[in-house]
Symmetry: C2
Amino acid sequence: METLAKNRSFGGVQSVYKHRSEACGCDMTFAVYLPPQADLRPVPVLWFLSGLTCTHDNAMTKGGFQEHAAKHGIAVVFPDTSPRGDGVADDDAYDLGQGAGFYVNARRDPWKPHFRMYDYIVTELRGIVQGMDGIGTAHGITGHSMGGHGALTIAMRNPDMFDSLSAFAPIANPTRSDWGRKQFSAYLGDDEGCWAGHDSTLLLEERGWKGDMLIDQGTSDQFLDLLKPEALAQTMAAKRQPGAFRMQAGYDHSYFFVNSFAGDHVAWHAARLT
Amino acid sequence: METLAKNRSFGGVQSVYKHRSEACGCDMTFAVYLPPQADLRPVPVLWFLSGLTCTHDNAMTKGGFQEHAAKHGIAVVFPDTSPRGDGVADDDAYDLGQGAGFYVNARRDPWKPHFRMYDYIVTELRGIVQGMDGIGTAHGITGHSMGGHGALTIAMRNPDMFDSLSAFAPIANPTRSDWGRKQFSAYLGDDEGCWAGHDSTLLLEERGWKGDMLIDQGTSDQFLDLLKPEALAQTMAAKRQPGAFRMQAGYDHSYFFVNSFAGDHVAWHAARLT
């Protein structure tokens, strides 16, 4: 594993690594923030899954998580959002191919050989992170937009792996949205039965989540029609799922929104992981 | 004046504007963060001057100032670092021309017609900001690297305009550094006498600063040889200038450093402006 960068941040260290991924069959880049407390003892870790077009870098530099992670003594992992490289399939659209992995394992060509972001996050990168100095055994997961979809679906499919869950403006009902149907059709094929396992509203309906969950959604989000927060909010209430679904007045879909509530989410996870 | 963006952030509004600059003879872009308190009453304003290669955007998205500005109820202005555009002189080097205005008024061609960042900040943009709804009469100034140089020199030359002063890793003694001699020679000409008015160490020696000042500098900064913090620190002590010069262990020159201490600087200014 190659270290691409190390920067001191709020008394801890923000690192960026590159490694050869078996799951994705290409080099992958990810970032880890270790708070100062990790010098003394293993700390809990929060996974932040990013949205369409993002790499590990966007949330690392614009999310403002380090300050809160240092305050609460938890690590934060920022994975990339897809396989990348010249040999990896892509599409001209911003919402398919590189930068748009949707946290699934593709079953169809040309995506099948590399687009295995589900296995990459759940198995390969999980193993790498667990082996790092300073990383403890308690894991929480969150994410933004496509990454909020990833966080919710991965957590509900793997409740033994995560002890806390939240999301920022998640793609909440992708089987009924153009942010979902297009990609699931391309990556997974036409059998909509297998799409359901990657739709947080349907998973919540079917399986629920073992703990409480925190969802933040801006009321001025320019993508509300694609995100479909009402589907998840309705299911959460109907299923009596503990948690908070907050509609935040005036916020849009940008990192200014993520940044504004990063502190709340880190505190939420820290309270459940420490 | 054209509004390029408005995003809600920590209960306030982060805006980006474009306007025709008389001082620079080109379109200029700047950003203003207004905290929620500005809806109720005019608030103090902190100017953040950015470093080499930056635009208004870098500190706005990576500095983390909004959270602290909202907490303390102060506005933050993020100007660009130079004139820009096809008709504006430039140089292949990253540290001369566009992105490297050095907060002076150029006296030599090809820079003279547009590179008037001193007048732009002190007079033109100052006037625009003062005319904005929600902006009060108390102003503080800070900056990073070349912008730290700008903040220190502009404040010491204009003590009636600013009531608080700080800097992050400033270019502290440009008349004796390759970050300074090259640019002053190009913009100002060979008369080193007129360079002295743009060197914070020399200005501190000659004029001092009316209040106290806060300087943060990382001990692992990759540009220590160019920044010359020892010159400013020595002069500050020798002149009995009130303030704090903090060498921060392990921090480099990046925005991870700026971000880590943004809260301290906003609190410093807020305590002196409110």
